[in-house]
């Protein structure tokens, strides 16, 4: 069901844990949906020096978190802001349809974290977290 790339990032996730000296953090998702993603950033001069994540979720949620941290590490925050869920999916060689939402989650977590950094600088950027309420109704 998952590509090799997904399985690689799931079983050997990069940048796991809480950065000791992060200066921005973003969290999206909720327990009801079964996914919570938190991204920690250490930003210096608008450059993402270091990044890490903590995720409660399925294999795809862990893999998308992991790849997202790789994709933005060393980037300028404005470039990181352009990260799309499509890029996440492509970097993982694809995701099953039911797991697309995890890539959206990863994109949104990155954006939330950068918004947190910008906010501290007095800049407000809007984030639309579709995944905060994406669950199907319980039956």
């Amino acid at each position: 069901m998952y590509t090799e790339k997904v399985m690689d990032h799931f079983s050997n996730p990069r940048n796991v844990g809480e950065l000791k000296d992060y200066n921005a953090v973003g969290e999206v998702g909720n327990a009801k949906c079964g996914d919570i993603m938190r991204i920690y950033l250490k930003i210096e001069d608008d450059i993402i020096q270091d990044v890490s994540f903590k995720t409660f979720g399925c294999g795809a949620a862990i893999a998308t978190s992991s790849i997202a941290t790789e994709l933005i590490k060393g980037k300028h925050v404005d470039e990181a802001l352009t990260l799309t869920n499509k890029a996440v999916i492509e970097a993982l060689d694809g995701l099953p349809p039911a797991k697309i939402h995890c890539s959206v989650l990863a994109e949104e977590a990155v954006k939330e974290a950068i918004a947190d950094y910008k906010k501290k600088q007095g800049i407000i950027i809007e984030t639309h977290n579709q995944c905060d309420n994406c669950c199907r109704e319980d039956r």
């Binding site: 069901m1 399985m7 799931f10 079983s11 996730p13 796991v16 844990g17 969290e27 909720n30 327990a31 009801k32 949906c33 079964g34 996914d35 919570i36 993603m37 938190r38 903590k54 995720t55 409660f56 979720g57 399925c58 294999g59 949620a61 862990i62 039911a98 939402h101 669950c135 199907r136 319980d138 039956r139």
Partner: protein, 389 residues
């Protein structure tokens, strides 16, 4: 430390076909393939073996041969029972009572009936995953035509008070259906003593083949057909009979019942050992569902702060095959409706693991699984934003 032997711990999802059972099925594919509805000898032969199978099943559940109908699976049996009773008895009433932990084959069928003029009452189970029979009684009203309560739950293994509910149904002149798919072959079932009017079973849960089931329908019960067509199964269930699978179902059930005590002892021992070790070695673990009134081979854990699918994937990478909730829904985004029915919060309902034991497991498997679980749970917790060690 990698584990290289396959360890199958998902016997509630499905079982391998027993070799002896398969052997008995084989002649009916290539040698004795006659259509049982035909009048010539090789057709009569097929007919005879089906009638023998029917007798075997009837004897086991203490009913008449003519009350046993073969179907294509547990799902069909449930659909037939519920829709068949609903539509045939509509003039008497439109109210059906069930619980909130039934299998989807019951819940989704009732949901469909709910959209077609029927009123469904979902009696909530208690915190231990067992329904209070008195609450079923209280839900009965003038329009009630059917009570459907599963014999044992597929996720948490809790055994429902079937005999009590049967008595209540009888006292109130209401029909009683039980989905016994998880119970058949493991628990003793007497439809007479338990006042069961309709009962579903499925062969692949007790080392029989997939794609064959039974619906028991008590004589005199008014039920519409679900599959209309030829005159098979006394005109109640059309479709050319799946002879080999029917032979397999009866053989597997017979064998299961013969070895029931030994089997239950075997799986109960492994299950109890697993539960004990896991609780001892993994903190913040919950066991879901009643510990006593429970299928002997079932255990269901919630490991706080982690999610079930990633747990299953790590187990799979170590050749351990287990499930989170029911098989049909693993891979879906919904948390288990059964665990939610127990009152668990969502994040805990998402973190469940079901282990169900079988003939092919031994104590070494238990040790492997427990030690893998210790490692994996710790690892996932360290990744989890919900966990603060």
């Amino acid at each position: 430390m990698m584990n290289n032997k396959n360890i199958y711990l998902d016997h509630a999802a499905t079982t391998m076909v027993d070799n002896k059972v398969l052997e008995m099925m084989l002649p009916w594919y290539t040698e004795h393939y006659g259509n049982p509805s035909s009048i010539y000898s090789i057709g009569r032969e097929s007919k005879q073996v089906i009638e023998n199978a029917r007798q075997t099943v009837a004897d086991i559940f203490n009913c008449k041969k003519s009350e046993i109908y073969f179907t294509s699976c547990g799902t069909e049996s449930n659909n037939w029972a519920l829709k068949g009773i609903a539509y045939a008895n509509k003039s008497k009433g439109n109210h059906i009572i069930t619980t909130n932990i039934e299998h989807h084959a019951v819940l989704h069928t009732l949901e469909y009936l709910g959209k077609h003029g029927f009123e469904i009452t979902y009696v909530p189970v208690e915190k231990n995953g067992i329904v209070d029979a008195e609450k079923i009684r209280q839900a009965i009203k003038k329009e009630t035509i059917l009570i459907s309560v599963m014999f044992a739950n597929n996720e948490i293994g809790t055994i429902q008070p079937i005999e009590e509910i049967g008595k209540i149904a009888k006292e109130n002149g209401v029909l009683f259906h039980t989905d016994a798919v998880q119970a058949a072959g493991t628990l003793t079932i007497d439809v007479e003593k338990m006042n069961i009017d309709l009962m579903s079973i499925s062969a692949h849960k007790f080392y029989g083949p997939k794609g064959v089931g039974v619906l028991f329908v008590r004589r005199g019960v008014k039920i519409d057909n679900l599959l209309h067509g030829g005159g098979q199964e006394k005109t109640r269930r059309a479709g050319t009979e799946n002879i080999a699978s029917i032979v397999g179902l009866a053989a597997a059930l017979e064998k299961a019942v013969e070895n029931m005590e030994e089997y239950n002892e075997h799986i109960r021992k492994l299950r109890d050992l697993t539960a004990q070790e896991v609780i001892k070695r993994i903190p913040e673990t919950i066991i879901n569902g009643d510990l006593e009134k429970r299928l002997p081979g079932n255990i269901n854990f919630s490991f706080k702060y982690i999610e079930g699918e990633s747990l299953l994937l790590f187990l799979d990478m170590n050749h351990i095959f287990a499930s989170s909730g029911s098989a049909c829904t693993s891979g879906s985004l919904d948390p288990s409706h059964v665990l939610l029915a127990l009152g668990l919060p969502h994040e805990i309902a998402h973190g469940s693991l079901r282990l169900t034991f079988g003939w092919d497991n031994d104590e070494e498997d238990v040790e492997t699984v427990v030690s893998q679980l210790v490692t994996i749970v710790q690892r996932l917790r360290e990744m989890s934003p919900l966990y603060n060690k």
